[in-house]
Amino acid sequence: MNMKIKGPAIKFGNNIDTDVILPGQYMTLVDPYELAKHALSGLDLAFPEKAKKGVIVVGGKNFGCGSSREQAPLALKYACVKCVLAESFARIFFRNAINIGLPVIECKGISAAVETGDELFVDVEAGKIENISKGKKFEVDKLPPFIIEILADGGLIENLRRRLNKK
């Protein structure tokens, strides 16, 4: 996947849990595009419409807390969320997002520096984030190489398929 991402921001607050990202009543849906229709419906029913041209979600602390449901990051990815930036992530959501090929980057101070609608640029591999609209730049700790590799392959399935075939 492309590790350089550009798009407008949609900002949320702290502790965005997986129940508001993908409510339990939609957990029997299997088509990711169907899941995407309910992305973040616990907070904003219009989110899928707002996101459809491709967006970067910005969150506060503890983004993705709660359930281990991978349907949450899947719903975001198929709703055209290209990347999630947050002050911090809940650990299962963080792993799930990486595993399905949705870049997630922890960036202290991002929440205060971004408003919904700001144009952002993210270089996932280099750990560089820029708010183009406001002229603010951030540098974060780079993700470990094996995580970058999973993201570059498009997710853990593709990564594993490649690695197992190599053997």
Partner: protein, 422 residues
């Protein structure tokens, strides 16, 4: 090393590990259920793997949407039954198991000192038995089905040192709510939380499970308790062999990021108010909150000890007219015991409905959902927006005693107050 570090060192073939280090750990047991399993099966097929690495180390439990309430759920169950058949996996189908986190230890799939992962966030429950247990997603589960390995960052540990004796109607649920209230919902993110101290030593397995179960609600990677005689008494006859518990005690000089002290002796019944699990206060300070639904059950509080406590409060009383009370034993084993002890009769006489062992209303996907503006007081573990149905409904989290007392009065009630009235 502390107990978590000892388990991770052993699982990754190392003598010693340090917090922050990334290890490649061998998985001793993996569990998937009906809502996370089908995605894992799909991912497993996409990886191109044929057989799972070890069919003795994987368990399938149908518990979220059981019995199937929709064709969609029925299809998911079918996928899991077929996968279990193809891979020759142990499966606990409708009527044979119950909630995964209760069934796993009951049926002997939880062994102290092992690494257990489950495609469910409350997998951390098994730390109550001195196992390293943590939640994962479906794709990760598929990768483990294929390889038997998982990468893990060795977590820094926080020790929760608990002292004092619980007063009447104050329970381990009140303790864990109080802990989360103090720590915050991200107060232990990525960390290990080790529960220790005299109160833990004298606590039942059920109470320990309630504590470890909710470790994830403060962001923890795992909750854990050193195994002891209480652990042995529960597991003997359930697991094939028990390890030497001496190797599973944290060393005297084990390193903790910090130790947090809790004294339960003056603790009152606690409640987590909407819409965050750390929005905790004493029940006595909530004020006038009328309820429409009371739920006693879930992987947090659906055990026999919880049902006994609820029955003690409900015996000879009636659930208030405009309230519906749901009781769900955590497993078939708990259900049968509650039946034998006459608890189900007490619930039924009180006007509560007893449902089959499953997750029930906890995650708002199956039965007992809430309409807009309705309020539920629940023994479960999450009170997020929309968790139990409508995004305009509210959920309060409390102990079985508090929920039962609230069902009788029709509003959130301190169980000690109900007793004083009687």
């Amino acid at each position: 090393m502390n107990i978590t570090e000892k388990i991770l060192a052993k699982a990754s073939g190392k003598k010693i590990v340090y917090p922050g280090e990334i290890v490649d750990a061998s998985v001793d047991m993996i569990m998937v259920h009906d809502l996370t399993g089908p995605l894992a099966v799909e991912a497993f097929k996409k990886i191109g793997a044929q057989k799972i690495w070890d069919n003795q180390k994987a368990v399938v439990i149908l518990d979220h949407q059981v019995p199937a309430e929709s064709v969609k759920a029925a299809e998911l169950h079918k996928v899991m039954r077929q996968f279990a058949k193809d891979q020759k996996l142990r499966i606990y189908d409708v009527g044979r198991g119950g909630i995964c986190h209760q069934v796993m230890p009951e049926k002997g799939h939880v062994v102290p000192g092992t690494v257990i992962v489950g495609a469910d966030s409350h997998t951390c429950t098994y730390g109550a038995f001195g196992a390293f247990a943590t939640g994962i997603g479906s794709t990760e589960a598929a990768a483990i089905f294929a390889t038997g390995k998982i990468w893990l960052k060795v977590p820094e540990a926080i020790k929760m040192n608990v002292t004092g004796e619980f007063k009447k109607y104050v329970t381990p649920k009140d303790l864990i709510l109080s802990i989360i209230g103090r720590m915050g919902v991200d107060g232990a993110t990525y960390k290990s939380t080790e529960f220790a101290g005299p109160t833990i030593k004298s606590m039942s397995v059920a109470g320990r499970m309630t504590l470890c179960n909710m470790a994830v609600e403060m962001g923890a990677k795992n909750g854990i308790i050193e195994p002891d005689e209480t652990t042995r008494r529960f597991l003997e006859g359930r697991v094939k062999a028990l390890p030497n518990f001496e190797t599973l005690q944290s060393d005297e000089d084990a390193v903790y990021e910090r130790t947090v002290e809790f004294d339960v002796s003056k603790m009152e019944p606690q409640i987590a108010c909407p819409t965050s699990v750390d929005n905790v206060k004493p029940v006595s300070e909530v004020g006038n909150v009328p309820i429409e639904q009371a739920f006693i059950g879930s992987c947090t509080n659906g055990r026999i000890e919880d049902l006994r406590l609820a029955a003690q409060v409900l015996k000879g009383k009636q659930v208030k007219d405009n309230v519906r009370a749901l009781v769900i034993p955590a497993s078939q084993e708990v259900y049968k015991q509650a039946l034998n002890e006459g608890l189900l009769e007490i619930f039924t006489d009180a006007g509560a409905i007893v449902c089959g062992s499953a997750c029930g209303p906890c995650l708002g996907g199956h039965i007992g959902l809430l309409a807009a503006d309705e309020i539920c007081v629940s023994t479960s573990n999450r009170n997020f927006i929309g968790r139990m149905g409508s995004t305009k409904a509210s959920v309060y989290l409390a102990s079985p005693a508090t929920v039962a007392a609230s069902a009788v009065i029709g509003k959130i009630t301190d169980p000690r107050k109900l007793e004083a009235k009687a």
